[in-house]
Symmetry: C2
Subunit: 195 residues, 2 copies
């Protein structure tokens, strides 16, 4: 896959920060940090958290909290709101959990940039020049992939790989348009649904 076909939340995040004249204290992965290199992070007036894995230490999370609680109007951005993902065969806490921790600590609501935010899905559709109604989102996250896409008018197909768990098929809020075992089956689903 070419890089131009991947839609990470960072460009959208940069745009928002510049537009609103915000300087972030960041708690993100080192890759995301590089993509934020053009952003002024001095004298922070907001906090951005992402899937920073081991950087999400007690000390770093405390630091992000201390920055927020000291602000007159604390602004927290979260690069997604996933509950968990799968890495090297193990389920790991995703950024959404840390977002919830900071929201509770500071009595605030984070602004989500990335899945399942409609702004984010719509930006990706626009960039690809396609309509939501003709697009199928395939993902292993029942809420953020499937539910997020459906909320934007796309079809959402759940794939039984990655962090998929059997109980996802009976989710209380999201009913996928299709459930498939792998990407090959997903392609078959799309071709068949065109006929």
């Amino acid at each position: 896959m070419e890089e131009s076909h991947v839609f990470p939340p960072i460009p959208a995040m940069c745009q928002i920060l510049k537009k609103r004249d915000l300087r972030p204290h960041t708690l993100v992965s080192s890759a995301a940090m590089e993509d934020l290199s053009e952003i002024d992070c001095s004298n922070p007036n907001c906090v951005v958290i992402g899937d920073a894995t081991t950087e999400l230490s007690y000390e770093n999370l405390n630091r992000a909290f201390q920055m927020l609680i000291a602000m007159e109007n604390p602004i927290l951005f979260s690069l997604g709101k996933g509950k968990y993902y799968k890495d090297a065969g193990e389920l790991c806490l995703d950024v959404g959990c840390y977002m919830k921790a900071l929201e509770y600590a500071c009595d605030i609501q984070a602004e989500v940039v990335g899945k399942p935010s409609s702004n984010f899905f719509n930006a990706a559709l626009e960039d690809m020049g396609v309509e939501a109604s003709e697009t199928v989102m395939i993902g292993d996250d029942i809420v953020n992939d499937v539910g997020g896409a459906q909320a934007c008018g796309m079809r959402g197909v759940l794939v039984r790989t990655g962090k998929f768990r059997p109980q996802d098929e009976q989710h209380s809020q999201v009913t996928p348009d299709g459930i498939v075992d792998n990407l090959a089956q997903a392609v078959k689903f799309i071709i068949e649904s065109k006929n």
Copy 2:
């Protein structure tokens, strides 16, 4: 103050674990760990989290999450639900924030043992042999100290020390029976309210 006059949540936690035949995976402070030494922690069927400070690392929190998500009926106990506390002049994230992270990750509701749980306050009252109506709770946590005590029929006095912040005086849900600058003022408040 004598040790017998302090009411930590651990004895209550031990009682619950024994009564319900639960074996915890623990993520608590080393002091709490000692107090749990009589408890069987083999082959865990629940998770107990407490104010474990630096033990609340990314790895340890992930481990607690993995234990929970692998359980058919995940049971999470939280030793309190405080948002933050003050240590060495700095505000630090309290156990309630990590409880929220795990609740979100696993789609569950934690059972709180400790403040502001009514069971916990009532056990302390019973142990001291006093009635709620003749008791005043003095604390720096507007929700867990003051609100928790009031919900049990005690009076709750907010003290402007520790983690107190000016905005606590205009809390949307809790109105203290009194607000004082320090413990000496609290004693004065109690004596005056008796007359």
